[in-house]
């Protein structure tokens, strides 16, 4: 029990980010608690209203599909930031860079190399060719610096012992970075005294890092600065806000498929002055929609002929096609071995223990205790389709069991991680809520890890579901500068 005049916080069992098992604040949270204790309940309410007003006015929203209450919802940010000390982050940062480097080497090996990892038996061939994320058409397309996954979001959780573990890799079109930047800006306005007492590593330069990485994959110097565009599926996409945000910060045009046209294996934008050449496309459209001439003829999201331009080396595309192979949840268990294979290093960030359900022994073992495990479809993201054993009904488990038996390749099962919790304002009181972390990594010519990332919060007590599409919240995430935790 942590008691101030106005503030009390009861930690939950498991690992609490802010309070140690003896119920004292951890050193790097002491200043934060002291500052929070000064805020009266009335003032807290006023600040929460100010926060909501800021997000609503600026149109910082996300869309929820199939939501009858309108497609735009205001972004939910908790007023208690998450704090990561410098020394702790240094390890996470090295681990993330190591992982992205190895994953990119794996992707380049498969798509543009000799598939050595398969030849040498590190990853089974049938897993690669059966992967939903494997894009056969991308084989042979060269990417400068092997930077196939240029923007990665690696989801981390902390287990009951406080160990950071990789929960899943997002290598296709991970979203959330705009919220990292907006959370930082909003919290500084709503809780200025909090920010002022800490030395926080900045994140607002992200777009400049991204632009540098995008320029580095431009086909060749044409005398002038490469023309970069952002390709969005359009205004109805759940991450449209982010696409517009990034385009604005990059100084790039936000294109839809119909704004681009390919002639002579070269991509052009339809402008008010006619057609103008495009050098790099930062696309937020899924692999199989980018070129309707090759993939889905009925799709209007992509650009017919884009594959030809890619093959001719006339345009850079980030992320490259086929990155979904490496974030297939069935490949995930092999990532530590891939790190060892390509880099000769042990993985700095461990995985969560995982059952490979296509292996008969492991399947038997997992099926015997489905009610204790977490089952995930290998190709889904966003928390869709996940079955959490301890919270599922018998009927749900039965359905899951049948689906696994029908197609074992389509599922993995993982030990349930008792996610760390973090003090979070719920109805004006501090309560522990489970959190995870999605850091963003630029896997270009040099690897850049953005300090912190997007902390997501499960707002229902005891819940492990942090996805914003399923009622999760978020936190500003501070990585403290080295030396001195507080000013």
């Amino acid at each position: 029990m942590l008691a101030g005049e106005r503030l009390s916080y009861e930690r939950a069992p498991g690992f609490d980010e802010a309070v140690d098992p003896g119920h004292s604040p951890r050193a790097h949270y002491a200043a934060l608690f002291a500052e929070l204790a000064r805020i009266s309940p009335a003032e807290l309410g006023a600040r929460e209203r100010l926060r909501d007003a800021i997000f609503r006015r600026l149109g910082i929203t996300f869309a929820v599909y199939g939501d009858a209450g309108g497609i735009e919802r205001t972004w939910p940010m908790d007023l208690v930031p998450r704090i990561i000390p410098a020394a702790e982050w240094a390890i996470v940062e090295r681990g993330l860079a190591q992982r992205v480097r190895a994953l990119n080497m794996f992707l380049d090996d498969i798509y543009n190399g000799e598939a050595a990892a398969v030849r040498d038996g590190i990853v089974p061939r049938r897993l690669v060719v059966s992967s939903d994320g494997f894009v056969r058409e991308a084989v042979g397309i060269r990417v400068p610096h092997g930077a196939r996954c240029l923007v990665a979001g690696i989801d981390l959780v902390r287990d009951a012992h406080g160990i950071y573990r990789v929960l899943e890799d997002n290598l296709r079109t991970p979203s959330g970075i705009s919220y990292v930047l907006e959370n930082r800006a909003a919290l500084a306005r709503v809780m200025p005294a909090l920010s002022a007492r800490h030395r926080i590593r900045p994140v607002h330069h992200y777009a400049s890092l991204l632009l540098g990485a995008l320029h580095a994959i431009a086909p060749k110097v044409r005398g002038s600065k490469p023309r970069v565009v952002v390709l969005t599926p359009g205004i109805y996409n759940s991450a449209y806000f982010e696409h517009a945000f990034l385009a604005r910060q990059l100084g790039a045009e936000l294109c839809e498929g119909r704004d681009l046209v390919v002639e002579n294996h070269t991509v052009y934008a339809r402008t008010t002055k006619g057609l103008e050449r495009v050098d790099v496309i930062y696309r937020r459209v899924d692999d199989r929609f980018v070129d309707p001439a090759v993939f889905r003829p009925e799709s209007v999201l992509g650009v017919p002929g884009l594959m030809g331009a890619l093959r001719a080396g006339n345009v850079g595309l980030a992320n490259a096609l086929g990155c979904g192979l490496a974030d297939d949840k069935a490949i995930y268990p092999f990532v530590p071995a891939l790190i060892r294979y390509y880099l000769g290093e042990e993985a700095i960030l461990p995985n969560v223990d995982t059952y490979l359900l296509w292996e008969p022994d492991q399947r038997e073992a997992a099926l015997a205790r489905l009610n204790e495990l977490v089952m995930k479809p290998v190709a889904a993201s966003g928390g869709y389709g996940i079955v959490i054993g301890p919270q599922a009904t018998e009927e749900q488990l039965d359905i899951c069991r049948k689906e696994i038996l029908a197609d074992p390749r389509a599922w993995i099962a993982q030990e349930l991680v008792d996610l760390s919790s973090h003090p979070t304002f719920i109805d004006g009181r501090l309560e522990p809520r489970h959190i995870d972390l999605r850091p963003f990594i630029l896997g270009g010519e040099r690897i850049e890890v953005v300090p912190g990332g997007l902390t997501r919060v499960a707002l229902r007590r005891g819940s492990y579901i942090v996805n914003s599409s399923q009622g999760g919240g978020s936190k500003d995430t501070w990585v403290l500068a080295a030396e001195g935790e507080a000013r």
């Binding site: 006015r57 109805y236 991450a239 517009a244 604005r248 339809r270 402008t271 002055k273 209007v300």
Partner: protein, 320 residues
């Protein structure tokens, strides 16, 4: 810039202007032309609908042109694109597509206006304080315009936004001047002065007129002020000259010279029009010719800068 973005900016400008001008028109109609009885009021509202070319659309939805019905139709009805709420919604939707061209202040101003109009109690508010309501719409639109003027670089995005506003404003000023004078209530001369003052008021030109011509109000001078003034920012000529300047500064567009020529022709025809010598009927016809000319210019701008072949429908697409 992308043709689609140019088009979105053009329409952001048009819808924003439409919302403001509609609020101006309704405000003066409500407060200036409705001092007679119910019959006169009905005729005045009918006149507004006809000036806006919306009488037909209105009749499909309402039986009688009462104040409540016309206000409901022109303010909060989102089923057509000419109500204030629909215009603001569309201005915002278009602006949302070109968010990266707009400063945060500009977006904030437009989005706040949109959110305010979303409130459920707007109909009650409109009924209780119509003037307050229209004044707020007007000042919110001006806030958006001010944010644009103070934060947008004078490049193509700004030019398309301004083109949209100027074209719409020129057209709306022509429409305003075609709202018929109400039935005389007593002294014909006084009623006429009153009518022309209302016209000046609608475009905030009363003070500027007084400085230019003194307090004596004559139809010919009001027309000169609102149609031919080279200095007053809401006059038709001022808008056309402004649009010409924006068009001149725009780069590219294969057909751009032809659009410029058409606009210059329309402008000089207007300049040589002698409104003072026209009878009431003749002035109205001349204004309608000018208005049609402006609408054609808008179509040519679209064809020249935005036409990029048939645009496919937007599809909902899922990826999280």
């Amino acid at each position: 810039m992308l043709a689609r973005h140019a088009e979105d900016l053009f329409w952001t400008g048009r819808y924003l202007e439409r919302a403001e001008d509609t609020a101006r028109l309704l405000d003066v109609t409500y407060h200036g032309l409705l001092e007679g009885g119910a019959t006169e009021a009905g005729m005045a509202w009918q006149g507004v609908l006809e000036a806006l070319s919306l009488a037909h659309l209105f009749r499909a939805r309402h039986k009688q042109a009462t104040v409540d019905a016309v206000e409901a139709f022109l303010v909060l009805d989102r089923s057509h694109s000419s109500s204030i709420a629909a215009a603001i919604t569309r201005a915002r939707e278009n602006a949302r597509n070109v968010r990266e061209y707009l400063s945060t202040e500009l977006w904030d101003a437009l989005n706040s206006t949109y959110l305010e109009l979303q409130g459920e109690d707007r109909a009650d508010e409109l009924a209780a304080h119509p003037h307050e309501f229209y004044r707020r719409v007007r000042s919110r639109c001006q806030l958006v315009a001010g944010a644009a003027a103070e934060t947008m670089p004078r490049l193509d995005a700004w030019r398309f936004l301004m083109l949209g506003r100027l074209v719409e404003r020129a057209e709306m000023t022509c429409r305003l001047l075609r709202v018929p004078a109400p039935q005389p209530l007593g002294d014909e001369h006084q009623d006429e002065i009153h009518y022309w003052m209302v016209m000046l008021n609608a475009v905030s030109a009363l003070e500027a007129y007084a400085r230019e011509f003194g307090a004596e109000i004559t139809p010919a001078r009001v027309l000169e002020m609102l149609v031919l003034s080279p200095d007053f920012p809401r006059s038709v000529l001022f808008c056309l000259r402004g649009a010409e300047a924006q068009l001149e500064a725009l780069e590219g567009g294969v057909a751009a010279p032809a659009v410029r020529r058409a606009l210059s022709r329309l402008r000089s025809e207007l300049e040589y029009q002698d409104f003072a010598s026209l009878r009431e009927r003749g002035a109205s016809d001349a204004l309608e010719r000018t208005r049609r000319g402006i609408a054609q210019i808008a179509e040519r701008i679209e064809a020249c800068f935005f036409a990029t072949g048939p645009s496919p429908e937007r599809h909902v697409y899922e990826s999280v």
